[in-house]
Point group: C3
Chain length 344, copies 3
């Protein structure tokens, strides 16, 4: 039911403790508990957070160099997941090992590959450039959802909800919902999914934009994003005073966002996100205000999606009614279903 | 498993916000989330609290006149449940609508009809007159149970428990449990169920009665009630000093109670209740004391029934042992089962 | 799945209220709610905590002499579980009764027999002598686990975990895990299980031992225990300065422990325990410090086992990998499984 041969974000880079820290970081992905730590040479290791012996979590053990010793009975595992010492034995059994996951870091996101390690392909990493780019500024965000990840993907694939869920934050006009986005399929150098382009002309600035500055005229606004396997949004969005030339950004709001969903279990999800603005605005107060405003908006989403999930759970047999809003999410779900089926 | 062609109380009238309030009231009945609101002409509307599009709760949306706009993607539903506007569409699809429920208000109780709307029959509304009658005074009550509603119905159908569960509140004597009530079947103008008449002679006043006044003699006490589909108790009860003539109420305690159970889910229940005393006692302090005392007693019931449900859940296969106490509840359960079967 | 023809500890003796107390003690064992109380002649009674009528817990009722009256409808049950009074009936039906459990007290532990009462055999009571012996001192302990009891039994059957889980409390050296214990089968006068003997020479004192006194030399340490059906540990353990004669205990730490596991449900467990030291140390402060230190260590176990259970629950199909550590627990589980099968 999950796409496995792909990269899932397990953490922001800063969440993984330093190599000399006694702390051990763990997070559950696709129902699997995973331990992530840094070797002293600077690489990252992802191991099943489950000793092969009695299945105790290794995260309750101790670092020893680049190895981890289980805190229950003392088995020592190296960075390749191989058990190298069992107390009371001269040598560890060869089959004593824990699963390892290919791990990659790109622009502050730490990814794990949940499928066949032989297929792990760095070309499939998304281009989350603004997560670590001198021209862009943001505060990294994380949120936990008690809903299946696909309900959140649905939300991100249909920005008409900005007019209603986010009327007082990211939206600010019903014109967003009235606009029909252009939806195209993406299948490009390992990246698959859909591209959604939504343009809204001559509308007010969103309350969110007004955190940057005041506007005395209407804006032309745009939201152009790729939504890629397994569930990552990469978006350029912004607004430009009506009448300004398309290449004149002197008075425009420009944003780049990277957001990604990682299933924790069937019914819970990790949500990693950021919304970057140009580094020309180097003001810590504005940065924090923008982040707070984003969190406020993302809480609006979570409230709605959690309530929707509650309704869906109570009466699972009722069918939804597809409308024009749903073109992108229907396409994305179909592509994903096909890709999951192809893996089997 | 539930009787559907009948009225269930969803709220006290005062719980439903005014037509010009931004608040939207919702409650779950028979597993179905329902939205109730007032139109500006003063009637009540009950809609499925679930947008037909993506199943978001409409209660998280906004009133627009007598319509409600979904807070997720902006679909607008009128008081007939018909979608009249989809953002970005010239006209809403005819099949876009949400379920409506016949709704009725009688004496401050708001009822919804959970079965075939064509069969909705006002004659089936119970005679809860004291909920809104100038001769009677009470404070309206609501309580939530984490048990199936029938366990609470069982409790209300056998008042022998007053001697034990309510020894220090509503009971006050073991004679209540010793008395054998008269049990008759009710099938009268749309009302079906059982009538239970219990008379207890020459016993002490209950601690509850002593909240009204002191008594220097024993009382003759009575509890006469209908328990009607789906689960509504309508009761005259009271006590009269031994020796006073049956038509002399000058020193008697007279009460009228209306209580009703509405299943929320298979294992949780809404309980709406009041216990009225004559308006001749116009003392706000006594009214509050009586209400507090009733709440104390109803908490005694809830503690016991919740503990009973815990035992029943842990060992579902064990059988109960019917005793003389259970005549009324056995009859009521049999009638209800028959009526539910007849609906299918 | 549970051994039934055996004694399970339901309480420490001091937990059962006096015969003239209004309190009624209840605890769930093997999914069955049980009521335990004292008769005025000093014996103990264990009844199903579930009225035969409507399954209300008798513990919510009242003592009447050596009987208990149900707090829901007033049925009275005597110490043999027979109903002797139903309000409103001249005599109680003969079949109105609740299940009784053979009960025994031995050295402050209160046991119930969960199988066929005709087979209840006092010879099967474990020799928990130090729970009530003038030569030994302890504070009785109780802990609740939200895990199956066998995971805790596994922990107690393999003391190599002392080196890791209890590095800073009961362990203090990796030598405990390196030592190979002697494992023997026990089948002696009604007692069945395994005997585990682990000797560790010339190692440091544990932090736990240092609560008694300081040591200026290494110790020879030992842990010798029976682990008996259904899940009871009886252990002599201690440490003696290296070089002292085996019969010279003048500078030794000597301990006797009795610990037992009683399944509450499939996934929760009662844990009764004590660790006694010789009465020659009659210091209340030391007694309390020792108890606190034991609780600290047992919390370390519970943290680990609960985390292990979480991992096991998330991926039930994964197999554990048996290692040399597991000899005793594998033997004990096999014996128990065989005994459970033989009961059927």
């Amino acid at each position: 039911m999950w796409l496995r041969n792909c990269w899932y974000v397990i953490a922001w880079d800063h969440e993984i403790p330093a190599a000399d820290s006694p702390e051990l970081f763990t997070r559950q992905v696709l129902n699997e508990p995973i331990l992530v730590y840094r070797t002293h040479s600077g690489s990252l290791v992802a191991l099943a957070n489950k000793c092969c012996h009695r299945h105790a979590p290794l995260s309750k053990g101790l670092r020893e160099g680049d190895s981890v010793r289980c805190g229950y009975h003392g088995l020592l595992f190296n960075a390749q997941g191989q058990c190298t010492h069992v107390p009371g034995m001269d040598s560890a059994p060869a089959k004593a090992c824990v699963k390892t996951y290919p791990v990659a870091v790109k622009n502050k996101w730490v990814f794990v590959w949940m499928g066949d390690p032989a297929l792990a392909d760095l070309a499939k990493l998304p281009d989350n450039f603004s997560c670590d780019h001198p021209d862009w500024v943001h505060i990294p965000g994380y949120m936990h959802y008690d809903t299946p990840y696909l309900l959140i993907a649905d939300n991100l694939l249909d920005f008409s909800h900005l007019s209603y869920v986010h009327a007082k934050t990211l939206g600010g006009t019903t014109a967003i919902a009235q606009a029909r986005p252009l939806i195209e399929q993406v299948d490009d150098q390992g990246q698959r999914g859909v591209k959604v382009s939504r343009f809204v002309s001559n509308v007010g600035a969103s309350p969110f934009y007004r955190k940057f500055r005041e506007f005395d005229s209407n804006l032309d606004r745009w939201f152009v994003y790729d939504f890629l396997f397994p569930s990552t949004l990469l978006m350029h969005s912004g607004g430009r005073p009506v009448g300004d030339a398309p290449d004149d950004n002197s008075r425009a709001v420009l944003l780049h966002s990277c957001q990604t969903l990682t299933p924790e279990t069937d019914t819970s999800t990790h949500y990693f996100f950021q919304q970057s603005h140009p580094a020309t605005v180097q003001d810590e107060t504005i940065k924090q205000i923008i982040f707070n405003s984003l969190i406020e908006a993302f809480n609006e989403d979570r409230d709605m999606i959690t309530a929707q999930f509650h309704n869906l759970s109570a009466n699972a047999e009722d069918e939804m009614m597809p409308l024009h809003f749903d073109s992108a999410l229907i396409q994305f779900r179909a592509l994903l279903k096909e890709a999951i089926a192809a893996e089997r």
